[in-house]
Amino acid sequence: MRKGSSVKEQFTARMLRVHFGEDDRWQGKPLHEAILAKCSELGIVEAIVLRGIEGYGSASRIRHASHWSYSKDAPIQMSIIATEEQIAKLTPYLDAMVEEGLVAASTVEVVRYSRTTEQS
């Protein structure tokens, strides 16, 4: 491990969790890819897309992933860590893009580790 090569920052941020189905689309593209691209565009620091193996949601259907991991409507959960301002910019897009789903927000404390530029 290259000790001392990492910078540590601590700040307060918001965490959004967006729940929808894997088959949901936005302009022909999987919805989670579209949201991820938007997060990246807004400079949001962290976003992860998780696929559940079973679940149900606002549509009140049981969703589950079949053996073919790409041919089902599995539940998707996106976790997005962003500042209050970035969330404010992202929310109108989420309103438009997520037709059926749930968005939950909470305030979180963040510790960020990043490599110093001379190391990378």
């Binding site: 491990m1 890819e33 990246s40 897309v49 510790v111 580790y113």
Partner: protein, 247 residues
Amino acid sequence: MLQPGKAVKVTIYLSDGATHHGVPLYSSILDFLFFRGVAGATVTKGIAGFGADHHMHTEQLVELSDRLPIKIEFIEAREKVEAILGKLEELAGSGLIEMQETTVAKPAQLSKPARPLTPAHLKIEGKAQIMRIFVSEEDRWKSKPLHEALVEAMRANDIAGVTVYRGILGYGAHRRMHKDKPLVSSHHGSIMLSAIDSAEKLRAFLPIVDQMVEEGLVVFSDVDIVKYAYRALDTDKQEPAPAAAKE
């Protein structure tokens, strides 16, 4: 646990075709009774019958064969029945619910002895925190995958439980997403570890995270522990079960 003496027997009559959130209604009701701790319940399927709508439901009429009568029966103390009756009426919809006084002569015995109780020193209640660590799947710590090393470190530090998630897509402090090729292969996955324990224990663990994580994000949020079920084993090596929490 049902005691000998006065009790109430509840019978719910449904037609088999009825569904609730996409599953057969009887199984929804059975789940509800199960999770509300009702002592026991039995579902029986009739072979013929008719209900309020006076349509005969029988197996011989093919077009009606999916609407055979279903009967759910359970016996419980009156207070318990009254506590769940409202929700039960809502679930049963158009079905009939009947109650009658009964006497329990002998309650059913558990087929297995009850599990030993949670060791007191491992009980976690009330306010806690959830610590999520976002790293990349290729990150390594002393030649082993970083997320595995973190799990081992947490276990060694008695963190109550941790779950590792592999994202199907993502980007973060540890990596940039390729705009032209957004689908990340399984070897370039985003990893999220989610650990729940008291704020003090998680804070005490943070210096270890400082040592191990070069690029990544650690996110803390407050949660209330609702239930912490611990599987007590006979051996000394005990594995904590994951805790349920709400934010």
